[in-house]
């Protein structure tokens, strides 16, 4: 049996150098999308090829990797990416947020506060926050160059006119360090406040669109809003029905084929740790919340 021979973390050294240079520029210019020559990865787009390339370029043999997909360590996507790096880089893996040095994520920021010793890598499908307003790359480049973000505000204000509030609940646009407007990837807007002043470095990789961008630690990140319609993070007005948390982001899961459903923490590690600490759901209290 001949095992396939991999480069460390799959990518060849030339590719890693190119991606590493892009990462350094991204950190130096917070919120700016650095173009890079994205490589074919042994997984389909939509599986986080941008995030995987960023992770592969920063990962070292002493790292401990955690991979989450919508808050869960157990989805096919998360398990596959974790196995990929065990196989190609030999790194340790973990599901516990506080034990990880590198966390690759799709669609969530962990509930547990991150530390200065951690890097959060986001998988990004569409990195350009202005794309749905302006399809031409040359134009969006120009708009970023001139900080011409009026159209974005018009779009958000049209939301208010139509719905009475800003309807965007995922990938809610932010302004980074008072300069670039940035797409935080499809995280729920509940997570937006965690983007700001994080102790951890945050890196964003878009494989199909070939962009890398970053938020350094301790950088102000502001969700776009208006004086008369301030930004409000949203969560279901309920407690987790497993651990009783009233401050975590909740997923509504269907429990049977008769329309049964329950609210549970989207961050499975957070929920498990709370239950291990003895936290539990108290139904009456939950009724009172709804009452």
């Amino acid at each position: 049996m001949s095992a396939p021979v991999y480069n460390f973390a799959y990518l060849d050294e030339q590719t890693k150098r190119m991606i590493r240079r892009a990462i350094l520029k991204a950190i130096a210019i917070p919120g700016y999308q650095v173009p890079f020559a994205s490589r074919e990865m042994p997984m389909p787009y939509g599986w986080g090829t941008g995030g995987v390339q960023v992770t592969a370029s920063i990962l070292g043999p002493d790292d401990t990797l955690k991979v989450i997909d919508q808050g869960s360590d157990d989805t096919t996507n998360a398990v596959s990416i974790r196995k990929f790096f065990v196989k190609t880089a030999g790194v340790e893996t973990t599901t516990r947020t506080e034990d990880a040095t590198v966390i690759q994520t799709r669609h969530r920021i962990p509930e547990t506060a991150l530390t200065e010793n951690q890097v959060l890598v986001y998988q990004v499908p569409i990195p350009e926050p202005l794309r749905f307003l302006e399809p031409r790359e040359t134009e969006t480049r120009r708009m970023h160059a001139l900080s011409e973000y009026g159209l974005m505000h018009v779009k958000l204000y049209e939301d208010i006119a139509r719905h009475g509030h800003i309807a965007t609940t995922y990938a809610y646009p932010v302004e980074v360090g008072g300069r670039y407007v940035m797409d935080p990837s499809p995280i729920p807007k509940f997570d937006n406040p965690k983007l700001s002043d994080s102790a951890a470095l945050q890196l964003f990789g878009a494989g199909r669109e070939k962009r890398i961008y970053a938020i350094p630690p301790y950088t102000k990140v502001k969700s776009l809003d208006f004086e008369d319609h301030p930004f409000e993070p949203y969560r279901h007005d309920a407690a987790c029905e497993l651990c009783g948390a009233t401050h975590s982001y909740l997923d509504e899961v269907i429990t049977d084929d008769k329309g049964g459903r329950m609210f549970v923490c989207s961050d499975t590690d957070f929920c498990e740790q709370r239950r291990a600490e003895g936290h539990a759901h108290v139904p009456d209290q939950n009724e009172a919340v709804h009452g």
């Binding site: 095992a3 396939p4 021979v5 991999y6 460390f8 050294e13 890693k16 150098r17 590493r20 240079r21 892009a22 990462i23 350094l24 520029k25 950190i27 130096a28 210019i29 917070p30 700016y32 173009p35 074919e40 042994p42 997984m43 389909p44 370029s57 920063i58 990962l59 070292g60 043999p61 360590d73 157990d74 989805t75 096919t76 998360a78 398990v79 596959s80 974790r82 196995k83 065990v86 196989k87 190609t88 880089a89 030999g90 790194v91 340790e92 893996t93 599901t95 200065e116 480049r141 120009r142 970023h144 160059a145 001139l146 360090g177 670039y180 470095l201 350094p216 630690p217 301790y218 950088t219």
Partner: protein, 221 residues
């Protein structure tokens, strides 16, 4: 999906997240590990990434020995980050040593350019006499990343005191480095005024490095 896909044996959903070290090519194990250039490159890059994310914080690299006037950390960073795609500019002190160009050609194959404005990286051994930052590439308004990164060798992270503020810094950070041009804080202020254009600096003293990316506000104390 291609034939060497690690996804070939597809894990079942909920298949248990605790995966330990396994299947690892033996190249990455044991004594050879410390000598593997892939590890050396990763370690040097990661240190610089941390430094860039936290301007003014020091990191110690495992330096690489290279001809004078290369500091060991400068050689490690160049080996890690430079290649045929990244033109290098050498200051007079670097350019005066023929062995320097030979080492660069052999170890990373990066072209050496005469115009500082064409360089991806600039190597500066004589920090006090460094050229004005405006002589290097500042990038463009649309592509501010197309700029020069300066590797500036100093004697030590002591001496002239500065206060740093900006992304990556909680409140402020005290920083010191010498020798540097007397008007260094003014130069950095002019550089920052160009943001998002501008150059990024990496200061090197022996095996130690610190970064001053264009986003940092440098104030003389």
């Amino acid at each position: 999906m291609n034939n060497l896909s690690p996804f070939a044996a597809h894990p079942r959903e909920g298949g248990g997240p605790e995966v330990k070290k396994q299947d690892l090519d033996s190249r990455f194990r044991g004594n050879e590990r410390s000598m593997d250039p892939a590890y050396e490159s990763q370690a040097a890059f990661r240190a610089l990434m941390d430094c860039t994310a936290r301007p003014g914080e020091l990191r110690k690299l495992r330096g690489v020995s290279a001809p004078a006037p290369f500091a060991p950390a400068t050689a490690a960073l160049i080996q890690s980050l430079a290649d045929y795609e990244t033109p290098l500019w050498l200051d007079a002190a670097f350019a005066a040593e023929k062995k320097v160009a030979d080492w660069i050609r052999f170890h990373c194959g990066a072209p050496i350019v005469r115009e500082p404005g064409e360089a991806a990286f600039a190597l500066i051994a004589d920090a006090a006499a460094m050229p004005p930052l405006a002589q290097f590439s500042q990038g463009t308004a649309e592509y501010p990343d197309r700029s020069t990164t300066l590797l500036v060798q100093i004697e030590s992270f002591a001496g002239t005191p500065f206060t740093l503020r900006g992304p990556g810094i909680k409140a402020s950070r005290e920083f010191a480095a010498s020798p540097l041009p007397a008007d260094f804080a003014v130069r950095m202020k002019e550089n920052r005024a160009l943001f998002p254009r501008g150059v990024d600096l990496v200061l090197v003293a022996g095996n130690d490095i610190a970064a001053l990316p264009r986003s940092v506000a440098v104030e003389a104390r």
